[in-house]
């Protein structure tokens, strides 16, 4: 079984989840002011998933994210100021302010990017995992996708390819119950996405995405398997999102109290706090201190982004092609 997490790791886990939550709650507020261009899809409610998986990854490991990608970027270690600036479409943004929320990327961190194409991460991960295998780097590649993405041909083809080539890949299905506004009950034929792994000759397992420790353990086994040459795995994380598919989504397809109940009973941060304080591993004071620090950090990121300049017209001609030396 997974080794016990030490205090430093527990603090790191909480800080990462809190950074994601604070970031997303703030983007929710700021988006309503009309200053943020384009669409944003918030990850609030799913923090334990990105955090539990990413804590097993190093800088050399790759992540391909989704349109709901802020959480994956933060968990992989992206600078909040550069990320916020990117979402605001500002020049100091991590992609020069030209990508926005759905194209945040930092290849130096192995973050291959949020992705506006549903299911678009699968082929990228196969490529990254193949590179790691051929170059014998011992790195792994993680593909996050949703229940909507699970029905895309790209994901199914990628599961097949990863299994055929026994790639060091982990496919993490974040099943939040809705593909945009369509319930996964009506759109995922096997019900459990994890069941599809068997069809491709790879193991598929389910973990509770509200419980950081469950995700951490499950992802740990999948990453260990991939890193040790055991090939790909499919990990389905049953989770919930607190906001709509996109900001502005009226969510008429959800029950009136659905999100309220989720926040009250299944909030991953609340559950984490309850567990670690009960076990005497962390104190309320330590956790509150992180809350305060993260709030200040996000405040600073927003201020930085708001004050930053927009890209110039001439920037349209940069970053279009890459030159291979």
């Amino acid at each position: 079984m997974t080794a016990q997490l030490d205090k430093k790791q527990l603090l790191q886990a909480y800080r990462t989840m809190r950074r994601i939550r604070e970031f997303e709650e703030r983007v929710h507020l700021e988006f309503a002011t009309g200053e943020i261009p384009g669409f944003v899809h918030l990850y609030a409610g799913e923090e334990a998933c990105a955090t539990g998986v990413s804590m097993h990854l190093g800088k050399g490991d790759y992540v391909a994210s989704t349109h709901r990608g802020h959480g994956h970027c933060i968990a992989k270690g992206m600078d909040l100021r550069l990320m916020m600036a990117e979402i605001y479409g500002k020049k100091p943004g991590i992609c020069g302010g030209k990508g926005g929320s759905m194209h945040v990327a930092d290849l130096d961190l192995g973050m291959m990017g949020a992705n506006g194409i549903v299911g678009g991460g699968g082929p990228l991960v196969c490529g990254a995992a193949l590179a790691a295998k051929v170059k014998k780097t011992n790195n792994v590649a993680v593909c996050f996708f949703g229940d909507g993405g699970s029905n895309q041909g790209t994901i199914l083809e990628s599961l097949n390819l990863a299994a055929v080539w026994q790639l060091p890949a982990i496919f993490v299905a974040e099943n939040n119950g809705y593909a945009e506004s369509t319930s996964s009950r009506w759109s995922v034929a096997t019900g459990n996405i994890a069941d599809r792994g068997a069809a491709f000759g790879m193991p598929g397992a389910i973990v509770d995405g509200h419980d950081f420790f469950a995700v951490y353990e499950g992802a740990g086994e999948a990453v260990k398997r991939a890193r040790s040459g055991g090939g790909p795995s499919l990990l389905e994380v049953k989770v919930n999102r607190y906001y709509g598919h996109f900001e502005g989504d009226q969510q008429t397809y959800r029950g009136p109290d659905e999100v309220k109940k989720l926040r009250e009973t299944k909030d991953c941060l609340m559950l984490f706090r309850r567990e670690v304080t009960k076990q005497g591993e962390l104190t309320e004071k330590e956790l509150n201190q992180i809350d305060d620090e993260v709030k200040a950090e996000v405040d600073e990121a927003v201020n930085f982004a708001k004050a930053a300049p927009k890209p110039e017209a001439s920037d349209l001609l940069t970053d279009v092609y890459i030159a291979y030396a």
Binding site: A198, G204, A205, K278
Partner: protein, 352 residues
């Protein structure tokens, strides 16, 4: 056989059984479609013996929906009567509460018997709610020491005969042993094993390592069990009907000996044994470590701290289960499955 207007049976199919993290070690999965097929085969058997109604728990993965589709298709192509299948009206949480709620609703509606498709964990949840309603057990889980691994048709036949009161239940049912765990005001049961480990969080719930194990209590253990009960099963097996259980204690630093045991499907571990002893009914055993987690039938369910002092005891107040083999033997011996050439009941023609 004629259908009986009052004869209701419940079917519990855990949609999540067989999908935990232990899949990473054995790659097997019990697909949703096969769970549907099993229920269909049960319905065919129940229909023959005149069971009129079946209550099923709803789910979010399509088992109940698949069964309804199969029932509709059956009606269109076959004259053979199947029971009417009703899906219980309950909300779905995607947790063990779904099973608990379903069993309570079934009980309220007066089911005579409940057929359970799941592993040890699913059966434990049903057993905690079903009081004296007999269970027919079918394994579709990861660790399946408690339920029968058997063809659903035979199980359906035995269930139908019992529900229609064709058999004396006292002759074909077993009263199972169970383990009880008490921690503060909370009380839980286990049907096969209780594992005490020093891991602090329940996490994925599944238990697949032995390095943090302190002790294991079992109600019974077989030589060919898989899961924690395989450990005493390979050392000193205890039968389901024996008047005792067993407790094994572990010592990773100075074990008396090591044992190779299949603690999960596809996962054989070297286990450091300190001792194995019989566990008598009613003896309250305080757990061996001050904090950690308690696994019930292979799943970590309870976290405990030094301020709490959980204890475990064995009794014989577990669920009643139908011994399918015994039931079919009795039915055969009583001539219940034999009919004459000119039997007027068309449902019995195939047996002539």
């Amino acid at each position: 056989m004629k259908s009986h207007p009052d004869c209701l049976i419940g079917i519990v199919t855990n949609p999540e059984s067989g999908r935990d993290i232990r899949r990473f070690f054995n790659s097997s999965v019990f697909p949703t479609s096969e769970k549907v097929n099993m229920v269909v085969r049960i319905l065919a058997a129940l229909g023959v013996f005149g069971v009129q109604g079946v209550l099923m728990m709803p789910d979010s993965v399509g088992i109940a929906a698949g069964v309804i589709r199969a029932v509709q298709a059956h009606r269109a192509i076959s004259p053979d009567p199947w029971p009417v299948v009703c899906i219980l009206d309950q909300t779905i949480e995607r947790s063990a509460n779904d099973t608990r709620r379903a069993v309570r609703l079934m009980m309220n509606q007066g089911v005579r018997l409940i057929i359970v498709l799941g592993g040890d964990g699913t059966h434990r949840v049903v057993a905690a709610e079903c009081r004296d309603i007999p269970l027919v057990t079918l394994s579709t889980g990861t660790n399946n020491a408690f339920p029968d691994f058997r063809e659903a048709t035979s199980a359906g036949m035995a269930a139908g005969l019992c529900a229609m009161a064709k058999l004396d239940l006292s002759k074909v049912c077993r009263r199972n042993k169970r383990l009880n765990v008490r921690i503060g005001d909370r009380e839980e049961i286990a049907l096969v094993d209780v594992g005490i480990c020093s891991t602090r969080h329940v996490g994925t719930k599944a238990l697949w390592g032995v390095e943090n194990l302190a002790e294991v209590f079992v109600t019974f253990s077989n030589r060919d069990s898989t899961g924690l009960s395989s450990i005493p099963g390979l050392l000193r097996p205890t039968g389901r009907d024996d008047g005792e259980g067993a407790v094994v204690r572990f010592d990773g630093t100075d074990p008396a000996y090591w044992l190779y045991a299949p603690i999960a499907p596809g996962l054989i571990k070297r286990v450091p044994i300190r001792s194995i002893n019989p566990l008598q009914f009613g003896i309250k055993c305080q757990v061996a470590i001050s904090s950690g987690t308690i696994a019930l039938d292979g799943e970590r369910e309870i976290e405990f701290t030094p301020a709490e002092h959980p204890y475990v005891w064995l009794d014989r107040q577990g669920p009643l289960t139908v011994d399918v083999l015994k039931a079919l033997e009795l039915a055969a011996n009583q001539g219940l499955l034999v009919t004459g050439k000119h039997d007027p009941d068309p449902q019995r023609q195939f047996m002539s």
